[in-house]
Symmetry: C2
Subunit: 336 residues, 2 copies
């Protein structure tokens, strides 16, 4: 049978361009033992798809998390009709097999029981982005009740969950986002104590007003000058979790931007900074724990989830570019 | 009796100036119970004297570590003739008392038995700088044998000890310093595997050649662009200990320089960065442990010590400025 997939043909220069992708139609081979045929239903677009472009050999199939339904199966663990999460990315049908040498190609698990929640959450708040928020914030920032937490990219898939987990843990939460609508959503719907539009505010001044006692934890999704400003307002023994640097993802790695140096603040405030990739925590058990906790928080209403849904397999590229430009509030997903 | 001390009258602008200091002669009061009168013999000049200027209320007595001999005593712990280390700074005679509210004014301890080594080492390799190297490197970088360690400010009081401890721990050690003489000393006398003159070398290229397998630990004394370059060449799970940022100490805190952002490297290499002040480790026991180990290493020849000695109480200011300009190889001290 025929399948379609997006192949990345070029190394991106700046923002990815439509012509960097080729939509390829090809014939799927018959299933081998252990394999399953998946029909894709939801596809995730995330910042790391941009960031990892340069470390892959072109051409490559555009990877990414997706949810689909098993159509044919030669693996009893994943029977026909089962919903599965894989890292098979931008394709309408695909063949998957567990435990391949390439960790991500071989990544596959059965959707946990979401009790009526949308399966799309399995690639969002109850999937990689949610798990990223959970461990990246809790294990690295080690927040204590009463502390002040700052999140950048606060209206994004990860940031919006981080802020709500911080509220659950009894922290004061300040979020930075890139539009007044996002700011309103963070404050009015998600319960952030304060949200600030970094595009229009004097970031340093606004943060001093919002956090007069200084910042204890900083969850950094963006990098760049805003992060320098925030780190310079941190308290002694502050903790910084560096999840991403979307502000620089469209830059040539050899021409990264400059920002105010961090070292004086790091020394005099004895600050810890830890960059991380969520795969560190993927050991087969920890993901399950995080998923269970996140699911419970969502069901109880303690975490609210918003998705920015783009419809149509043919609109994947636009959804990706829109996410990189910050058009999404909440998790950007594509419904095939 | 009369005593002399240097008083800081101004907040420094850029490099400290001679007129920012006033040499004050004054009458010492009679000793009270618990107090001792010290005649200063050795005074330390260190980068943090510059860095802490803005956080003190002017005018203030120029603090700093010093070694002296007890001349009069109303404290049986410190009898006449005993050598003591205090933080009393730039003065020829001073009265000291233990355990004052101000932790540093009240800092005083009896010189350990140095078995014939110069008492000046108690404000250098066997004092605060040595202890800084010991814990700042071992506890934060957690070096493993075979790993590659980079040190900036490598010919300074702290950096030169860090590099030698790294060699003792079986690491490959690369040092950056600011003159060919320092480079030669590091390679030929201290046993660094490679030393690089950052003022004349292409830092990125030289480091790639010296560390073709990447950098595992980085002990940062300087901050700024060189640190960005080094961190961008670190391996997965690299550890950075940020001890100082001398490259920025003469800058106005509100106008810190910019350097290439660190966040992309921190994320993709899952790097930990920890700024520290050595006081964290000062608990009355840990200093003693470090001093004992450093003394043993120095006596056994595993750590070589060099001092850059300026003679004369009247030359303290010049010694300080010279140290900030990098004129010293090894520990800068003043012999009164």
């Amino acid at each position: 049978m025929k399948a379609k997939k997006y192949v990345v043909k070029n190394y991106f220069k700046g923002l990815p361009k439509r012509e960097d992708y080729e939509l390829v139609e090809y014939e799927l081979p018959p299933l081998q033992d252990g394999e399953i045929l998946i029909k894709t239903e939801w596809i995730s677009v995330d910042p790391y798809l941009r960031a990892y472009n340069s470390s892959n050999k072109i051409p490559y199939d555009q990877f990414g998390f997706q949810v689909g339904t098993v159509q044919e199966s030669k693996n009893p663990k994943f029977p026909v009709g089962a919903k599965v999460v894989t890292h098979k990315g931008w394709c309408d049908y695909t063949i998957a097999k567990e435990g391949l040498e390439d960790r991500f190609s071989g990544y596959i698990y059965k959707l946990p029981n979401l009790d009526g929640l949308s399966p799309s959450l399995a690639i969002g708040a109850i999937g990689m982005p949610g798990i990223t928020a959970y461990y990246g914030f809790l294990d690295i920032c080690k927040p204590k009740a009463g502390e002040t937490v700052v999140v950048t990219g606060a209206a994004g898939a990860v940031g919006s969950i981080v802020g709500q987990i911080a509220k659950i843990k009894g922290c004061k939460v300040i979020g930075f986002a890139g539009s007044d609508d996002k700011v309103q959503w963070l404050e009015e719907e998600l319960g952030f104590d304060k949200a600030i539009n970094y595009k229009t505010a004097d970031v340093s001044k606004a943060l001093k007003e919002a956090a007069p006692n200084g910042v204890d934890c900083y969850f950094d999704n963006v990098g760049g000058e805003i992060s320098s400003i925030i780190i310079n307002q941190m308290n002694t023994y502050g903790r910084v979790s560096v999840c991403g640097s979307i502000s620089a993802y469209n830059e040539d790695a050899s021409k990264l931007p400059k920002a105010t140096i961090l070292q004086p603040a790091l020394v005099f405030k004895q600050i810890s900074v830890r960059g991380f990739l969520i795969w560190e925590w993927f050991d087969g058990k920890k993901e399950v724990e995080a998923i269970a906790q996140l699911t419970q928080w969502i069901k109880s209403g303690q975490i609210k989830v918003k998705e920015h849904v783009t419809k149509g397999f043919e609109n994947l590229f636009d959804a990706f570019i829109g996410m990189l430009a910050g058009e999404n509030t909440g998790k950007a997903v594509v419904k095939v």
